[in-house]
Symmetry: C2
Subunit: 416 residues, 2 copies
């Protein structure tokens, strides 16, 4: 497969490389290379020519809650713990109904793809059936990545709590039934207050035995941080994950708004990922994350929509929100902490997540091919724009039907 267009990708943090009127060659579902002139050996192959369109890696949304999708955009006048009790837990409880679960999964999968998100790390609910349905529908629509059945055997809502034994059995059953080529399981203790020490111990043991990745929440809200300290008798929130073996280089921790210096250092040392969720942190007034500090400390940072605490399914919007939030951080820090540039935020939404999927940055040789083709010719312009200017602008405004095509693992999964 050969794709022609203006090829844009972030090979290192803070820089984008642009090959105008360039070619991407994909052989046996792996990227062979990006070229300014097509090498002679491919001259007779069929070329898909996207003309003046931009071609760049599709997005990875590394934290979102599928069963919250029906309540997207609701309840943002509440803070985290109140929001969970009032809106979220009752909505998630409905996923014991498999028909409702399927309808939601189909819509979510479709909306992800049409917005150019082709890889995810996603929370399901605690329901085993609903989780398998979700994985099946993502697979069908062409979404790749990880999905986790949530574990929660304490402090749930009405109709939204497992007993410990049930949670263990269901988790094992679910793992045994996961058999999807592109959608893999990830262990998902909801967060420390939702899981008893017994359940956390069990999850830590499977993580080790099966080599499974882990996702959860960390230091999102000051009340939550205090609660965890007293529940688990730890100085730092992260130590509660660490003591159960849920703290390693395959661990995604969402939010990290109130992480201490010690927590940041431990994340760097253990290779734990921060999943930055700027829209959610603002909507629930959790705080304004110190992303530049994490980056300076060598912590790996990726982005999450955190649907439904964040309202943006489009990662274009979440990239923009990352920039905007970093500008607020700069203002809060008396204009002393530089904001994240478009190039930097784009890296977090694409290349940074590639590492979690064991791939190189951008369109690296050997990567699976995930891409968006975007057109912007319908926008007004004050002058002839460079490809770089068009790239920067696309996070702020896009024409209607801007996304012309989406590729996921070399498959054309969306055309407009």
């Amino acid at each position: 497969m050969i794709i022609k267009g203006h090829i844009i990708s972030a090979e290192e943090f803070g820089k984008v490389s642009i090959v105008e009127n360039g070619y991407i060659v994909v052989i046996d579902n792996k990227i062979e290379g990006v070229y300014q002139s097509l090498p002679e050996e491919y001259q007779n192959e069929k070329i898909t020519d996207y003309g003046d369109s931009l071609v760049f890696p599709s997005f990875s949304d590394m934290h979102l809650h599928a069963p919250q999708y029906p309540m997207l955009g609701m309840g943002y006048d509440l803070q985290l713990l109140e929001w969970l009790r009032t809106y979220t837990f009752p909505t998630e409880a409905k996923f014991k109904d498999s028909a409702f679960a399927r309808k939601t999964a189909q819509r979510l999968a479709k909306d992800l793809i049409r917005n150019g998100t082709t890889r995810v790390a996603m929370f399901s609910s605690l329901h085993k059936e609903a989780t398998l349905i979700l994985m099946e529908e993502l697979e069908k629509a062409g979404v790749c990545g990880y999905v986790g059945k949530v574990n929660m055997d304490r402090h749930g809502g009405e109709n939204l709590e497992e007993n410990t034994g049930e949670s263990m059995v269901d988790t094992k059953d679910w793992l045994n039934q996961c058999n999807f080529p592109h959608v893999k399981p990830i262990l998902t203790p909801r967060f420390i207050p939702s899981c008893t020490p017994e359940l956390l111990t069990f999850l830590g043991e499977i993580a080790k035995k099966e080599g499974l990745p882990i996702q959860s929440h960390l230091s999102e809200n000051t009340s939550e941080v205090d609660w965890v300290r007293s529940l688990e008798n730890v100085d730092e929130y992260y130590q509660a994950y660490e003591k159960y073996g849920l703290w390693n280089s395959k661990t995604l921790m969402a939010h990290c708004v109130h992480s201490s210096e010690k927590e940041i250092r431990s994340m760097a040392e253990n290779g734990v990922y921060v999943v930055h969720c700027p829209a959610s942190n603002n909507n629930l007034i959790s705080g304004c994350a110190h992303i530049r500090d994490f980056l300076n400390a060598g912590v790996k940072v990726v982005l999450g929509s955190d649907i439904a605490a964040g309202e943006f399914i489009s990662m274009f919007d979440n990239v923009k929100e990352t920039i905007k939030t970093s500008k607020n951080r700069e203002i809060m820090d008396n204009w002393e902490t530089p904001f994240l540039s478009v190039e930097e935020a784009f890296y977090l939404a694409t290349s940074a997540a590639n590492e979690f999927f064991s791939e190189g940055p951008g369109f690296a040789k050997g990567n699976s091919f995930h891409a968006i083709v975007l057109q912007d010719g319908d926008l007004l312009s004050p002058k002839e724009l460079t490809v770089k200017e068009r790239f920067e602008r696309m996070f702020y405004i896009r024409q209607r039907h801007a996304i012309k095509a989406v590729y996921s693992d070399s498959r054309l999964v969306f055309v407009d």
Copy 2:
């Protein structure tokens, strides 16, 4: 004219009134009333029934720059004064070309209407012809409100500066040629650094003589504030407007991010409006305005998109951005300044601006009829939503083609 639907409006700050399956009666282009049951005298009149749709006042965008529309979404890695020199002034200079001016005006007018903005206070460029073209195109599309030819006789960009005499003559000519039923002139010194004392004196005199409203910028950026203090030898930025007679109850001042307590007090005493521009204040890292403080001090606050420093033409987005910014303010103030609720921000985007147009809040009796009809049946929901919940949600997510109809001064100006 009788409209049926779920009627929503903000009659006082922080509250919305909802009449489910209610009626709005408009007689001779003025609102007669909102009714739960249609009064007998209208029983035989034709009813436009919008069924389960929401019907609420359309928006007023009280600060935007028409000639910046072609560069929407560009250059947000720069701060105000650099952004002006690099991107904005060169773009505005192109408006000496009347064909370019007309094309831009047509597109802007169309986009405002299709997004439900029916009233504006708008900056043109310094060009007399382009300003008249803009007013003509707004009038044609159904946009009402005020447009100002910009005055700037110092510190402009290349090809974007008038000499003082020219500026005065062109302003008088322009005022004489303004003859549009719905689009009226407003005096528009760009900001203090752009206008010599002689020109400011001239503008203050016309404002008084002709009773014309005034719009400008105030205390947007710390460097700008320092510059004005030294240029005009004043303690406070606002005193530069005050001394030239440009500071009264028909004055709109955009931004006010760095207003001192004294400036806030003077705004309250003189009835000067703050036009809050949250997207712009963030994009150019100007700061985070203290809107709750202005409101507590009794200052009138309205909203502006500040296109193109702000990227949102839709006032739905600017309402949301107002809420989000107030949440950042709350975080910055250690969770001590309450954020603006959806109801509060909605009031600022609708009823608060009505006062500037000499009308009552919401759908008050005697007001001209400006409204949006919105449908949301295509969104997923976790349960049957109340009209109030649907109203709150519409600022965060909307279905494609959500706006079904827009009315401006009783004219149906958009249908989808």
